[in-house]
């Protein structure tokens, strides 16, 4: 349970950051015009991930899946940074 908790806190934080950032980057039209509303979603998304992490069958699975999700989200962020106009 403690393993899941820390997975949710430590891996959930960068994951929610990357998810929200990607949403801002790929927003059609001006990203800057919707930045603040999307940033508001950061804490709820993180909280949701922390809560959802307890649904994993074990701590190891939680760490593994959240790590994979982080790689995917930061990969998407990397792509977005190099292909989208940004702020």
């Amino acid at each position: 349970m403690l393993a899941k908790t820390f997975a949710g806190i430590l891996l959930g934080l960068p994951l929610s950051l990357a998810l929200v950032a990607v949403a801002i980057w790929i927003w059609p039209g001006s990203s800057e015009s919707v930045t603040l509303p999307f940033l508001v979603a950061f804490f709820p998304v993180w909280t949701g991930i922390m809560g959802g992490t307890y649904m994993f069958r074990s701590g190891a699975r939680a760490w593994a899946w959240l790590a994979v999700a982080n790689v995917a989200a930061f990969g998407a962020l990397f792509l977005a940074k190099h292909t989208m106009p940004g702020l």
Binding site: A18, E32, F43, T47, K81
Partner: protein
């Protein structure tokens, strides 16, 4: 949902509640009072006079003096408007060469540090709300508490989701006290859920926005977010100083023009409450006037103007603003309950007290769940939880009432309220905690509730006695702030007295096999088990 999942979420709910509950109790109690910040501020400083008609002209002269003595203030200098709050100070704010914020009020002849923690009563209670009175790190601590609070809300909702509607209408008084507390906790939690979601999100944002922005700025936006954030939250366009000196329009003039522009853009009204100049005294100077409008979710709006000719540059007020400005204003509006009139503030006040009850009842449920029903002596964790709950929760109510009393009688002994509110509050709080350790929670709860009741009633009655002339004068002027604070203090005193009586009844007549019983341990095991069955 599987039973094991519900169990997991129950454990998370318990632990998040334990971690954040105490800080949240204080934040909600102090926050409920802060809904009437301006009334308390008026009440707390009987000598503060009504804003004079020439206040903003004097403010203009003050700004001239400030930029003459502190050239650094030319880059950016702000000044507050008295708005419609008679006790609001008109103060200038600027950043000096070392990056420290300085301030100077109309009545002061020189600048002082804006970050000092010398607060008057209302601001002190407000500070307790957002940082528990802990300088520097307290606000980040409360930000983390807000995140934990969000997780507690989510898990609490998930636990009760299967029975949500059924439990909403269940409040079962009777022999089973635990079930009554559980029902009350659930009903209040579910009914005020939207309000709690608002606070978990906006509370985290208000405390941790800078940290969050810095993380996003570095990781996701390569340093472009911070300058963009400035554009997203202000109405000032990019401006450059052109060197030559120029005469600035006064705050009063700029405020009036900003108001005109806001009304022309469709705002119902616009009361300037703060403005700032950039490049003060130079050609190319601009000003941004922030003001409040009613009939909107986010009351704050901004208008930027050329500070030399008063030309309107940009308008970001209700009905005429973009998604970023609307969101930013809504965060404040939702958190501060400023999107309605006085009845909304009362609603926020009551929901704030209900929130404090929610965290208190959560702790009681922790204790009831782990209670040993057949023995008087309770486990260590139950006793520790009871001591902490009484000491911190009732202790903070007591400390805040004592602080009001200190603010009232301190000046009679030559003390300035700003200098004593914090030490008085912290001393009273420490005394309450020590008292709880010494007397054990069952008796200490009764003592502290009675003491809080007595002090609260005294606050109202003494103020009416000592400052009776002021009370009559404000009533004659049709202002009810002073009377309101007096009456609410007395009413809350009555409320605490009622809680004290109920707690005493519980301590004397209730099940002796509980940490809340003040009776000596019952000798035979047989009597203990009979009483346990009765309960």
């Amino acid at each position: 949902m599987k039973a094991s999942t519900v169990r997991t979420f129950t454990v998370v709910h318990t632990w998040t509640g334990l971690l954040a509950g105490f800080a949240l109790f204080i934040a909600f109690y102090a926050g409920a009072l802060t809904m009437f910040h301006d009334e308390i501020d008026t009440w707390a400083s009987p000598r503060a006079e009504m804003a004079r008609a020439d206040t903003m002209d004097r403010a203009a002269k003050m700004l001239e003096g400030i930029v003459a003595t502190h050239p650094g203030a030319r880059d950016q200098v702000g000044v507050t408007f008295p708005a419609d709050h008679p006790s609001h100070e008109v103060a200038a704010y600027w950043m000096d060469k070392n990056g420290d914020w300085k301030t100077q009020t109309l009545d002061e002849s020189s600048a002082r540090d804006a970050e000092d923690h010398e607060h008057a009563l209302a601001d002190f209670v407000y500070e307790l709300h957002y940082d528990l009175g802990i300088p520097a790190i307290g606000i980040y601590l409360m930000g983390i508490v807000s995140v934990i609070y969000g997780l507690a809300l989510l898990t609490g909702l998930l636990i009760h989701l299967p029975n949500l509607v059924r439990e909403l209408f269940a409040l079962r008084p009777g022999h089973n006290l635990k079930r009554l507390w559980q029902d009350a906790h659930n009903v209040i939690g579910i009914l005020s859920l939207p309000f709690h979601i608002i606070f978990a999100i906006t509370g985290a944002l208000l405390c941790l926005t800078m940290v969050m922005l810095m993380a996003f700025n570095t990781v996701a936006f390569d340093g472009k977010l911070l300058p963009a954030f400035e554009r997203m939250t202000s109405a000032l366009p990019e401006t450059t100083a052109k060197g030559d000196s120029a005469v600035m329009l006064t705050p009063a003039e700029l405020g009036a023009r900003a108001r005109q522009a806001a009304l022309a853009s469709g705002a119902a009204n616009f009361e300037p409450d703060y403005m700032r100049y950039v490049h003060y005294g130079q050609r190319g100077a601009a000003a941004e006037v922030r003001g409040t409008s009613t009939k909107t979710l986010g009351e704050y709006g901004m208008v930027s103007l050329d500070a030399t000719d008063g030309r309107v540059l940009r308008v970001q007020v209700t009905g005429a603003r973009d998604a970023n400005h609307a969101t930013y204003a809504a965060i404040f509006g939702l958190h501060f309950g400023s999107f309605g009139n006085v009845s909304l503030r009362w609603l926020y006040f009551l929901l704030g007290l209900a929130g404090a009850f929610l965290f208190y009842s959560g702790n009681l449920l922790y204790i009831e769940t782990r209670r040993k029903r057949r023995q008087a002596e309770q486990p260590m964790k139950v006793r520790a939880m009871a001591t902490a709950t009484v000491g911190v929760c009732i202790g903070s109510c007591f400390a805040i009432s004592v602080t009001f009393l200190g603010n009232l009688i301190g000046p009679m002994f030559g003390a300035t309220p700003e200098a004593i509110v914090q030490p008085v509050c912290f001393t009273a709080f420490a005394a309450a905690v020590i008292w709880t350790f010494w007397r054990r929670p069952a008796r200490a709860a009764v003592d502290l509730l009675w003491a809080t009741a007595l002090v609260s009633v005294l606050v109202g009655v003494l103020d009416m006695t000592i400052h009776g002339d002021r009370l009559i004068r404000t009533l004659a002027e049709g202002r009810f702030a002073v009377l309101g604070v007096d009456l609410v203090a007395i009413a809350m005193g009555a409320g605490f007295a009622w809680l004290g009586m109920a707690t005493r009844k519980r301590a004397v007549e209730g099940d002796p096999c509980s940490v809340w019983s003040s009776r000596r341990p019952v000798t035979t095991a047989a009597t203990a088990s009979t009483t346990a069955q009765e309960a």
